[in-house]
């Protein structure tokens, strides 16, 4: 018996792919990760099929690599680290199982993309909490499970947001529902007494969601999840604040974030803003803080009016000037663009054809120090500073931020590619030395991050041993070995 035939038994011939070209495509990704081609790609349609696949893997010793989003992949977590793995492609599980306007929550399968959920939510007057310009094939659950930062920090209360509850098939093959979805009762029974699977904690004394989230598919496979949604603004007004130095934006950003005044709120350097808007060429302002203020269902115009005045007062005190445009960039247009997936080619590859990204968590006040260090690294590696895109996303209501440095390069140039790779490594090392927190340690970052946290490695190994004792779930990721 082969993995393929095992999978065929579960999902049928039509849902198992073993074409060599397809398999080869999974052995590497756009981020430069190299692995082994999988034995096959299986496309389950239900949680039951997923469960059977996991049980099969346990019985036969196959590795499973769950993948929710469509191509292109770039962070290495979808590339099998071991031979003979089975890609569990969940992109076909596309149902929006429930859309609850009153509780502002949607229950979705892993294959649902941002664009799909966006359309479904909009019909109810709701909007999806998205990361910055996800690619069209990006899975909502995939993004949330990876703790990708969202554009609206005020709705990001905790790191699990916007994910609330999930149904997960652990590496053991056990099906489990996290948070308040766990029970008592079936989902239907819970709905009947007003529940909406909206409490992400528990059940009981363990946050099972947190053990699954951020695991790069190494603990189990999520078969549905509830994500919190927010109201579509009735009125929205966007602004841009530009500055020559990042530091000049800090006080303003901290204040508006503290009081949860803006919806959209992020900071981009000129290269990133230029790549996103495809405008301005080299004339982009060095730094731009983009934010929007909104009114919802109650007195929306009045809300925007008072917010605009209050934010203007804060801006004045902070010595910055909000404007509706900056050069060719229109704030409203930018805000609208950010509410949707990124049309191809992805903005990170627009400038030079490829991108190496370094991102981690820190706090806004530490960003300048990291930028200075990166300047040094770029000089050392002879990298043109104009090819550095910087994206700073405040998270968790301003109590931290995602700092992302995107090194644009020409993949056709060997020298460029080599430089970008070396720079990527150098910057990663420098930043982690400085206290950058690589909370999502893809690829080589895992060694860097876990090398500094032996206690966490030991603790995670215990969790892994519980949820995936045979090591079938995406082996070789994070701090977990390739051997089951």
């Amino acid at each position: 018996m082969t993995a393929k035939s095992d999978c065929v038994k579960i999902v049928g011939e039509e849902s198992v792919l073993a074409d060599k070209k397809i398999l080869a495509s999974f052995a590497r990704d756009d981020g430069g990760s190299q692995g082994s081609p999988p034995a096959c790609v299986v496309k389950p349609r239900s949680a039951e099929e997923v469960r059977e696949i996991v049980l099969m893997a346990n019985a036969r010793g196959y590795a499973l690599v769950p993948v929710s989003s469509g191509e292109p992949h770039s962070r290495g977590d979808t590339v099998p680290a071991t031979e003979g793995a089975v890609i569990v492609d969940l992109s076909g599980m596309k149902r929006v199982l429930r859309m609850d306007r009153r509780n502002k929550v949607a229950m979705v399968e892993p294959g649902v993309t941002f664009g799909e959920l966006r359309d479904a939510a909009a019909q109810e007057g709701l909007r999806v909490l998205t990361p910055l310009l996800p690619r069209p094939s990006k899975s909502v659950l995939g993004s949330a499970l990876e703790r990708e930062p969202m554009l609206i920090p005020k709705y990001h209360w905790d790191m699990t947001d916007p994910l609330m509850c999930v149904e997960v098939v652990f590496g053991t093959g056990d099906v489990f529902r996290t948070g308040s979805a766990a029970g008592p009762g079936t989902l239907e029974e819970q709905w009947a007494v007003g529940c909406a699977q909206k409490n992400p904690m528990g059940p009981g004394q363990t946050d099972f969601l947190r053990l699954v989230q951020g695991s790069q598919g190494s603990m189990g496979i999520v078969t549905w999840g509830t994500v919190k949604l927010e109201l579509l603004p009735g009125v929205e007004k966007a602004f841009l604040v530009t500055a020559d130095e990042f530091g000049a934006l800090q006080d303003f950003a901290y204040t508006i974030l503290k009081f949860k005044l803006p919806d959209l709120c992020l900071i981009l350097n000129g290269a990133a803003l230029g790549a996103i808007t495809e405008k301005g060429g080299g004339d982009m302002p060095p730094w731009t803080l983009a934010y929007s203020i909104s009114g919802y269902t109650y007195m929306p115009r009045e809300r925007v009016e008072y917010l605009e005045k209050d934010v203007a007062d804060i801006a004045s005190a902070a010595g910055v000037k909000p404007a509706r445009t900056a050069g060719d960039v229109d704030a409203g247009e930018l805000a609208r663009m950010m509410g949707a997936p990124c049309p191809p080619p992805h903005w990170k590859t627009r400038a030079r054809g490829a991108c190496r990204e370094v991102f981690f968590l820190t706090t806004l006040d530490r960003v300048p120090a990291f930028l200075a260090a990166v300047d040094g690294e770029m000089s050392a590696h002879g990298f043109d500073a104009r090819d550095l895109g910087v994206y700073v996303q405040p998270i968790r209501q301003g109590t931290g931020c995602h700092l992302e440095m995107d090194f644009f390069y020409d993949p056709g140039s060997e020298e460029d590619t080599r430089k970008a790779r070396a720079l990527h490594e150098g910057v990663s090392r420098a930043c982690i030395e400085m206290g950058g927190f690589f909370s999502r340690p893809y690829g080589g970052w895992a060694d860097l991050a876990y090398g500094r946290a032996p206690d966490a490695v030991a603790a995670l190994a215990r969790i892994k041993d519980i949820l995936d004792p045979r090591g079938v779930m995406n082996p070789g990721r994070l701090c977990f070995g390739k051997e089951g």
């Binding site: 009981g204 503290k258 706090t363 109590t399 909370s439």
Partner: protein
């Protein structure tokens, strides 16, 4: 019992003045309120600690834990140590009283977090945070509670949860002494990267640390913790005179308290959803009229409840919230008030501006912000208990509040529990637009009266049966000890078996007292529980008989 050798080791580690096995001292850790959850006849918990120790540092906690491990003792840590969930689970348990570890180590004003030790309490943290324009989450137990304890080890709804969330969701970096004595630093502190984040790298060990409920000392000791702080759009040093109900204060012009009441449950819940949608308010919380009257004038309520007509009058206000606006600017204040009135009108309610009521507004304003009022609930009867209280979309808490009142009325109407009008649910909506919420049904009794205590236990057992039968969220029932996991686990995806595995992985020798977490030996636990509280046994068994396969 603790051996002389073990005791000597503890003394040598901590200094003799920080160790005691004097029975009268140990009884200070044996007496607790809320023993109805343990089925006890009075406020003495079943087991007295074998010794109590006062470590002063993380290193000393590590040593204590290791000594316990070496000598076959269990340990249980406490911060402020209020409530029966602090009770020892067995005879050979060392109580770790963390009172000496009481510092606020850092308040990061810009990044809005504080790093605290176990016995800094919320009133202290709030006072210091306000000086920097910030506020902290304070659980319903009030500001005498430890922010670290509720964030790491217990559960925590708070009055101001609309703006300050739920204790477990505010956790950032954590320092955790594992049951084997090793230190695990969760998140950024694990990499010497500050305290601002508690999740990652990779899967978040916050998930192992706690869930909706904490392990209540069953999984080691938490010695430091960073908690998220929130904006405080008020004075840095509030000018307050008086101690509680007599408080007078300089209330900012942009702050005001409202009482909003609605004609029925549906429109009351509608209002909660609308407030979430509107993203207004600093606090939205129901403190039942019965509870308010009971705490303000307990003897008066006892008189009033003798007359059905007064009860009916008071009950007309049962669907209400206290709503606090704390705006940053006059513009925001005007907007929030206008929207509130629109929502109240839409839901056919009434809106009473408490700021127009002399003598009450200041006390309410500061009482709710500081959360100093909770122990008033003891005033009416001596103690109270709580039930239901699942966190969910607000329709569910609304449903639970009805269930609680319905079930409890059988006790209040017959005089078995004190008459708080039966409607005594507390709770609100949380996280602004997220708008999930909870309602927990309180019940009031005198623990010095064994008949009332028995009635409380009986009512509580009834709520568990009701929860299982109607597939309600289990809520605060999770605080009821390890037996709850065995009862509800089969109804909740067998979560208790996963907990047991986590317990086994982090504490293979069961050194950390599992009495309020999960038992490594469920059969023994169930047998003990059935022997210890036969009165409740039948009820519990009936819950365990419920079938459900999620």
């Amino acid at each position: 019992m603790i051996t002389d050798a073990a005791y000597r080791e503890l003394q040598e580690t901590l200094g003799a003045e920080n160790v005691s096995r004097e029975p009268a001292v140990l009884d200070g850790y044996t007496w607790q309120p809320f023993t109805d959850i343990l089925g006890l006849p009075d406020s003495w918990c079943r087991y007295r600690p074998a010794a109590v120790v006062l470590p002063g540092s993380t290193e000393e906690v590590q040593e204590v834990v290791r000594i316990c491990g070496r000598h076959g003792l269990q340990f249980k840590a406490m911060s402020t140590g209020w409530g029966a969930w602090n009770a020892m689970g067995g005879e050979n348990t060392v109580q770790i009283d963390l009172k000496r570890m009481n510092r606020i180590l850092e308040i990061d004003e810009k990044n809005m977090y504080a790093v605290v030790e176990p016995c800094a309490v919320c009133s202290q943290l709030q006072a210091e945070a306000m000086k920097k324009g910030l506020n902290c989450h304070i659980i319903g137990a009030g500001c005498g509670s430890s922010p670290l304890a509720s964030a790491t080890s217990l559960c925590g709804y708070g009055w101001s949860g609309l703006t300050t969330s739920y204790s477990a969701r505010n956790v950032l970096g954590v320092e955790w002494v594992l049951p084997d004595g090793e230190v695990l630093r969760i998140g950024t502190p694990g990499q010497d990267a500050g305290w601002f984040n508690g999740d990652g790298p990779g899967p978040s060990l916050r998930g192992a640390m706690r869930g909706f409920m904490g392990a209540c000392g069953g999984l080691g000791v938490f010695t430091r913790c960073a908690v998220k702080l929130f904006p405080w759009p008020g004075p840095e040093e509030p000018q307050v005179e008086g101690l509680l109900n007599d408080v007078t204060a300089e209330v900012p012009d942009t702050h005001a308290m409202f009482l909003i009441a609605f004609p029925d449950l549906q429109r009351w819940a509608d209002a909660a959803y609308s407030v979430a949608d509107a993203e207004i308010g600093y606090m939205m919380c129901k403190n039942a009229i019965g509870a308010l009257v009971a705490t303000m004038m307990p003897r008066g309520l006892k008189e009033l409840t003798r007359f059905a007509v007064f009860k009916d009058i008071l009950k007309t206000l049962r669907y209400q919230f206290q709503f606090l606006v704390c705006a940053r600017t006059p513009r925001e204040f005007a907007y929030q008030k206008a929207v509130l009135r629109e929502i109240v009108e839409e839901c056919e309610g009434i809106c009473l501006d408490v700021s127009k009521l002399p003598g009450l507004h200041d006390a309410f304003w500061w009482g709710f912000v500081r959360a100093a009022m909770p122990p008033l609930i003891f005033r009416m009867g001596g103690t109270f208990g709580t039930s239901y209280g699942a966190l969910e979309g607000f329709d569910h808490p609304a449903y639970q509040s009805q269930e609680g009142a319905r079930l409890k009325s059988q006790y209040t109407e017959t005089g078995r529990l004190m008459d708080d009008l039966a409607d005594n649910s507390w709770g609100g909506i949380y996280e602004g637009s997220t708008g999930f919420g909870h309602q927990e049904e309180l019940y009031v009794y005198d623990p010095r009266d064994s008949a009332q205590l028995e009635a409380a236990e009986d009512y509580l057992a009834g709520t568990l049966v009701d929860t299982a039968a109607k597939k309600l969220g289990p809520g605060l029932g999770f605080a009821g000890g390890a037996i709850v996991a065995e009862i509800f686990g089969p109804l909740i995806g067998d979560y208790h078996e996963w907990l047991r595995k986590i317990k086994g992985a982090f504490d293979p020798d069961n050194v950390s007292d599992p009495a309020f977490y999960v038992s490594p030996d469920p059969e023994k636990l169930i047998a003990e529980e059935m022997a210890n509280r036969p009165g409740m046994a039948q009820s519990l068994l009936s819950v365990m008989g419920e079938e459900d396969t999620p």
